[in-house]
Symmetry: C2
Subunit: 282 residues, 2 copies
Amino acid sequence: MIQELAIVGVGLLGGSVAKAARAGGLARRVVGVGRDTARLRPALEDGTLDAATTDLDTGVRKADFVLLAAPVLAIEGLLERVWRAAPEGTVITDVGSTKRNIVRAAERLAAARPLTFVGSHPLAGSEQSGYRAARADLFRGATVVVTPTDRTELAALKRATEFWEALGARVSSLDPETHDRAVAAISHLPHLIACALVDGAGRVEPSALDLAARGFRDTTRIAAGDPEMWTEIFLANRDALSASVEGFQQALADLQRAIDAGVPEALRAALARIKATREALR
Amino acid sequence: MIQELAIVGVGLLGGSVAKAARAGGLARRVVGVGRDTARLRPALEDGTLDAATTDLDTGVRKADFVLLAAPVLAIEGLLERVWRAAPEGTVITDVGSTKRNIVRAAERLAAARPLTFVGSHPLAGSEQSGYRAARADLFRGATVVVTPTDRTELAALKRATEFWEALGARVSSLDPETHDRAVAAISHLPHLIACALVDGAGRVEPSALDLAARGFRDTTRIAAGDPEMWTEIFLANRDALSASVEGFQQALADLQRAIDAGVPEALRAALARIKATREALR
């Protein structure tokens, strides 16, 4: 049981954690921290938050569990301030979709003061954003990756893991670098690709977008994601993303070669192999 | 009202047309033609077909409306045989996902005998295939593109259009070349890309596929399509697909440049523009 859960950033993810924590009775008190009083009001009014503040120090001062649910590039800066303001023993985690830089920053801070940070990345979300889209079941059945290193305290890792599990998530553990490469391949690259598909279709044949069949709409649904958030993600995970684009380009070039060669057998075998891989996805 | 509707190929698309025609009373008789008696049996037994045959000539001999619902590369060959066997005045259409070669073949045949062909491409389907997946409402709300040329008889075009509309589809008209470029961009390229995403992800980071978030599963759902069918489609529409890959690569390169430059404003503007395009899709 958390005594006081401070959630920094009460948008889609932070708001959903708050609602789920409230619904599941995971915390005695839930405090929201945001930049804008007006934006915090709905979560106060519907009873999701016990208190809300725009002052970070005030918000985390009594927290024994802090969730940083801000955009990924803001999390490093927030970490520094939380590290100064939160009581000793507080466990801090986050929802940042890249982990290497955040975990490194936390480990530098840990040298000065014994707080503990466990990197988290819930693979849940939607093309929507903001508290209005938040819902208590957002993490039910979702995967949350925690990214401990050999310096992470086991007790803190256990607390963070149990926290996400209590919200209904399935928790996986990866080191921060592996995590960043994996999410580049399965999340950041597909998003980039979906954007390029939408943008490229109109360049080649203006009537194409009028036709847009179900397959195209499915494939490109994520291209309607929040530009602000994705700008941060692409920039934060630039290196892993670039490696991912390379793997994708190699795979695409292999398929194009098979098409250009005009040999049905080779193409069919490649597509069958890929179909099997896709079908094996949970 | 069609007197006798012959459907050549009673799989997902042909079977769905048969079921819809039966349900909507669009034809007095529905005859199925296939290569394998055993595979035709379910559609006979459930009352969807009035008759079934493995002999193409027998199947189309009395038809006033013929639907070629075979794989795209087979349609040209079937056209030639139907042209010899069907009665004069018969309207022939198809479901081929590329149109230029099929329409050209039909126009060569029309010089010899006055049958009329109207190219059709229903943008409906699923990752499933076969008669078992067929359903009467498959075309409800779907787009069907018809591809007349200046040699297409208006009466036949009207009949084909009304046929698809009676199945609940929205009918668009494009010339065959524009159609092929448009479907390359919105259907064939996304499929190719989804395959490359699945294949590339495992190359870069083997753990990536274990994580596979919802965005990745959505984006790559179509990569589980029938390898046989997609081999034919990729080969049949090779030129337009290649142009589409080029447009996509340019769009991707533009995005990568914005990411590499590390200027959030430019990237955000590009993503916002693409989001707006995506959201404007019907």
